[in-house]
C-alpha cells in the first residue's frame, strides 16, 4: 500500500475538524476540533518527511505540537475566564465582534 493514503486520512481528519469548528458552539469542543486539525497536519508532515526521506517534516510537526500546546494553554485560560464572567462557554455568546 502507498503511504499517500496517510495524506488522504490527514485531509479527511482535517476536514472533519474544520466542520466541527463550524458547527459546535461549545468553546472547548471547538478547541478540540482545532487540535484535531493540527494533528491532521502533523500526520501529513510526518508522511511528507517519509516521502522526501529527510526529517524536516517531523521537525515542523514537532514545532506544531509545541505551538499547539502553548495555544491550548492560553486558549483554555481564556475560556475559563470567559466562563467566569459570563457563566457560559458558548462561542455564540461572545458576539461583540460586530459593527
Amino acid at each position: 500500500m502507498n503511504p499517500v493514503y496517510y495524506l488522504y486520512l490527514a485531509a479527511l481528519l482535517f476536514t472533519i475538524g474544520g466542520a466541527g469548528v463550524l458547527i459546535r458552539r461549545n468553546a472547548i469542543v471547538v478547541f478540540m476540533c482545532i487540535e484535531l486539525m493540527l494533528n491532521a497536519c502533523n500526520l501529513a508532515f510526518v508522511t511528507f518527511s517519509r516521502m522526501h526521506g529527510n526529517l524536516d517534516g517531523q521537525i515542523i510537526a514537532f514545532f506544531t505540537m509545541v505551538v499547539a500546546a502553548a495555544e491550548v494553554v492560553v486558549g483554555l485560560a481564556i475560556i475559563v475566564s470567559i466562563f467566569r464572567t459570563r457563566h457560559t462557554a458558548s462561542v455564540d455568546d461572545a458576539s461583540l465582534m460586530k459593527l
Binding site: 474544520g18 469548528v21 463550524l22 458547527i23 462561542v91 455564540d92 458576539s95 461583540l96 465582534m97
Partner: protein, 627 residues
C-alpha cells in the same frame, strides 16, 4: 500738436477719476470740476481744430502713438489715436455740446445729493466717447464703444432707487451688448482676413479680399451700429432710456452716443463701398427705422419719449444716408451735427419744461406754457423749426440733402428710399408740431394750485440759447459752397449724386409734405382742445404707444423663453448632472450596507467565511496548475 490728442481724452478721464474716487469732500465743488474738465477738453479740441485748418486738406490726419496695448503673435493692438476731419467734427460736437450740457446740469441737478457722482459719470462718458471717435483701430474703438455703453448704463440708472430706471439701464446695456457682439465678431473677421484691424491697413486693403468677407464684416458692423444707434431691430432700449435725467437724454441719447453707429459706418465706408449687399441692408435699416421712430413719436404723450422717437427716426435718416455710400456720407455727418444741436436743444427745453412743471412729463398735463417760460419757448421753438426742416434753418439743409441723395441712389430703390424719406419728413413735421402745440399752446391742462410753471435759471437757459443759435445757423454755415462736404471729403470720398428729380423739385416736395404734416397736426391738436387723458386711439396709435409691440415681442420671446430655459437648466443640473453622481454614491452606500450584514459578530460565521476563502484559494491553485 499730435500730443494734444491724448490730452483730449485724458482731461475728462481725470475729471471722472477725481469725482468718482474723490469722496464726499468734493460734493460741494464736484459739478464745477466736472464742467471745468469738459470745457478744458473742448478748448483743446478747438486748438486742434485750428491746427487742422492751418494744414493743407490732405495732411489733416494726425496720429499719436502712445504704447503697444496688446501684442500676441500676429495680433497687435496699439493705444494710438488718429485725428482727421471726421474725428475732429465729432470731437467738436461732443466736447461742445458736452460742455454746454455740463453747465446746464449744474442747474438741473442742483437739488440732487449725488450731483458729484453725476458729473463724474458725465466726464466718464465724454472720455469714452472721445476715445471712440479718436481711436485709430477698431479694438480701441471697441473700448470706447463699450465705455459709452457703461456711461449710459450708469446715467440711465442714475436714479437707482426707481426700479424702472434700474431696469431701463440694464436693458440698454444688454441690447447694446448684442450690438457689441457684432462689433467684436467684425473685428475678429478683420483679424482673420487682414491680420490687423487698424483703420489704415484694413480700409486700404479692402480691394484685396472677397466681397463675401467684406459683406460679412459690413453686416456685423451694421449690427453694432443698430445696437448703439437704436436702429430696428435693436431700438427698443432708447425709449426706456428716457428714465435717465434729462441732460443725459440730451447729451447721450440725442446728440452724441446714439450717433456712434453713424460714425462707425462712415468710418468703415471703404468696406461698405466694396460690399453693396451690406449697403442695401444699411439703407433698409435706416429707412425702416426713420419711419418706425417717427410713428412711435406721433403716439407718445411723454414728451421725452416723443423726442426719443424722433431721435430714432433722425438717426434713421443718417444711417440711410451713410448707407448710400459716398454720395451720402457727408450729409449723414452733416445731419448728425445739426441734429446734435437742435435735438440737444429740444431735450434741454423739455428738461426746462419739466423743471418748471415739477417733473411732469405727460404733455397732456401741459399746455399754454409759452407765456410762463418764454426763453424755453423760443429756444424750443427754434429747435422745432430746425428739426422739421423749416427753410433756412439747419435741419432744412441737412435733411433736404439726404432726401436728394436717397433719390439719387437711382432706380426703384432710389424711389422707395426717397419716398420713405419724404414720408418721414411729413411725419416728423406732424409729431413735432404736436409736441409743440400740446406743450406751449392751447389751454392750461395743469392744476394751478399745485404747479407753478416758471422759467429756469440762467445756468440752464444759456446753454439752450447757444444750442438754439447753433440749430439755426449751423446748417446754413455748412452748406455755403459745400464747406462741410469739402472738409470731410478727404476722409469720406464725396461724389455728387445724380438725382432723377432735380434738387428744386425735391425741395418743393419737402415743403409740401412739411406743410401737410404741420397742417394735419394743427388740425388735430391746435384747433380743438387736447383731452387731458389719452383717448383710446386707433389700433396703430395703441401699437405705437407700445413701441409698435416690439417690447412685448422681446418680453414674450426672449425674457419668458430665457426664464424657462434657465429654470429647466437649473433643474436639470441638479437632477441630471448632479443626480448621476449622487446616484452612484447612493448605490455604493446601499451596497456597503448590505455587505455590512456579513459582520454578524459570530465567530463561527467568520470561520465559515475563512474556510470558504481557503477553499477558493485551493481551487484557484489547482486550476492554475491546469487541473
Amino acid at each position: 500738436m499730435e500730443n494734444l490728442i491724448a490730452l483730449l481724452v485724458a482731461a475728462p478721464l481725470v475729471g471722472a477719476a477725481l469725482l468718482l474716487c474723490g469722496g464726499k469732500r468734493l460734493d460741494r465743488t464736484g459739478h464745477l470740476i466736472g464742467s471745468l474738465f469738459a470745457v478744458a477738453s473742448f478748448a483743446i479740441g478747438v486748438a486742434l481744430f485750428a491746427d487742422l485748418l492751418g494744414r493743407g486738406a490732405e495732411d489733416r490726419t494726425l496720429h499719436q502713438y502712445l504704447f503697444s496695448w496688446i501684442q500676441v503673435g500676429g495680433f497687435r493692438a496699439d493705444a494710438a489715436f488718429q485725428l482727421d476731419q471726421l474725428s475732429m467734427t465729432f470731437v467738436l460736437l461732443i466736447t461742445g455740446v458736452g460742455s454746454l450740457i455740463h453747465i446746464y446740469s449744474i442747474g438741473y441737478m442742483e437739488h440732487d445729493e449725488r450731483r458729484r457722482r453725476f458729473f463724474g459719470y458725465l466726464n466718464l462718458f465724454l472720455a469714452a466717447m472721445l476715445l471712440l471717435v479718436l481711436a485709430d483701430n477698431y479694438l480701441l474703438l471697441y473700448v470706447g464703444w463699450e465705455g459709452v455703453g457703461l456711461a449710459s448704463y450708469l446715467l440711465i440708472g442714475f436714479w437707482q432707487h426707481k426700479p424702472s430706471a434700474a431696469t431701463a439701464a440694464k436693458k440698454a446695456f444688454l441690447v447694446n451688448r448684442v450690438g457689441d457682439m457684432g462689433l467684436s465678431i467684425a473685428i475678429m473677421l478683420m483679424f482673420t482676413t487682414f491680420g490687423t484691424f487698424a483703420f489704415g491697413p484694413v480700409l486700404a486693403a479692402t480691394g484685396e479680399t472677397s466681397e463675401g468677407k467684406l459683406t460679412a464684416i459690413g453686416l456685423m458692423l451694421l449690427l453694432a451700429a443698430c445696437g448703439k444707434s437704436a436702429q430696428v431691430p435693436l431700438q427698443s432700449w432708447l425709449g426706456d432710456a428716457m428714465e435717465g435725467p434729462t441732460p443725459v437724454s440730451a447729451l447721450i441719447h440725442a446728440a452724441t452716443m446714439v450717433t456712434a453707429g453713424v460714425y462707425l459706418i462712415t468710418r468703415s465706408g471703404a468696406i461698405f463701398n466694396a460690399a453693396p449687399d451690406a449697403q442695401v441692408a444699411v439703407v433698409a435699416v435706416g429707412a425702416v427705422t426713420l419711419l418706425f421712430g417717427a410713428i412711435v413719436g406721433c403716439a407718445k404723450d411723454d414728451i421725452k419719449k416723443a423726442l426719443a422717437g424722433s431721435t430714432m427716426s433722425q438717426i434713421g435718416y443718417m444711417i440711410l444716408a451713410a448707407g448710400l455710400g459716398p454720395i451720402g456720407y457727408a450729409f449723414a455727418i452733416m445731419h448728425l451735427v445739426t441734429h446734435g444741436f437742435f435735438k440737444a436743444g429740444l431735450f434741454l427745453g423739455a428738461g426746462s419744461v419739466m423743471h418748471g412743471m415739477n417733473d411732469e412729463v405727460d404733455m397732456r398735463r401741459y399746455g399754454g406754457l409759452r407765456t410762463y417760460m418764454p426763453v424755453t419757448f423760443i429756444t424750443f421753438g427754434l429747435g422745432y423749426l430746425a428739426i422739421i426742416g423749416f427753410p433756412g434753418l439747419s435741419g432744412f439743409f441737412s435733411k433736404d440733402k439726404i432726401i436728394e441723395a436717397a433719390f439719387a441712389k437711382g432706380g426703384t430703390e432710389g424711389w422707395i428710399l426717397g419716398g420713405a424719406a419724404l414720408l418721414g419728413a411729413a411725419i416728423t413735421a406732424f409729431y413735432m408740431t404736436r409736441v409743440m402745440l400740446m406743450t406751449f399752446f392751447g389751454e392750461k391742462r395743469w392744476d394751478p394750485d399745485t404747479t407753478h410753471p416758471h422759467e429756469s435759471p440762467k445756468v440752464m437757459t444759456i446753454p439752450m440759447i447757444v444750442l438754439a443759435v447753433g440749430s439755426v445757423f449751423a446748417g446754413g454755415l455748412f452748406s455755403v459752397n459745400e464747406t462741410f462736404v469739402k472738409w470731410l471729403e478727404p476722409v469720406t470720398s464725396f461724389e455728387h449724386g445724380h438725382s432723377p428729380v432735380s434738387a428744386t423739385t425735391v425741395t418743393a416736395a419737402t415743403m409740401v409734405v412739411l406743410v401737410l404734416g404741420v397742417g394735419l397736426a394743427w388740425a388735430m391738436y391746435g384747433r380743438r382742445p387736447v383731452p387731458a387723458t389719452a383717448p383710446r386711439g386707433s389700433l396703430l396709435t395703441r401699437a405705437a404707444r407700445r413701441d409698435l409691440l416690439q417690447d412685448d415681442f422681446n418680453h414674450v420671446v426672449l425674457v419668458r423663453g430665457g426664464e424657462h430655459l434657465t429654470r429647466t437648466l437649473v433643474y436639470l443640473d441638479h437632477s441630471l448632472v448632479d443626480g448621476a453622481v449622487n446616484g452612484t454614491a447612493a448605490s455604493m452606500g446601499g451596497l456597503s450596507g448590505r455587505l455590512r450584514k456579513l459582520q454578524s459578530g459570530f465567530v463561527r460565521s467568520y470561520a465559515v467565511q475563512m474556510l470558504g476563502g481557503a477553499a477558493v484559494l485551493i481551487a484557484a491553485t489547482l486550476l492554475m496548475r491546469g487541473v
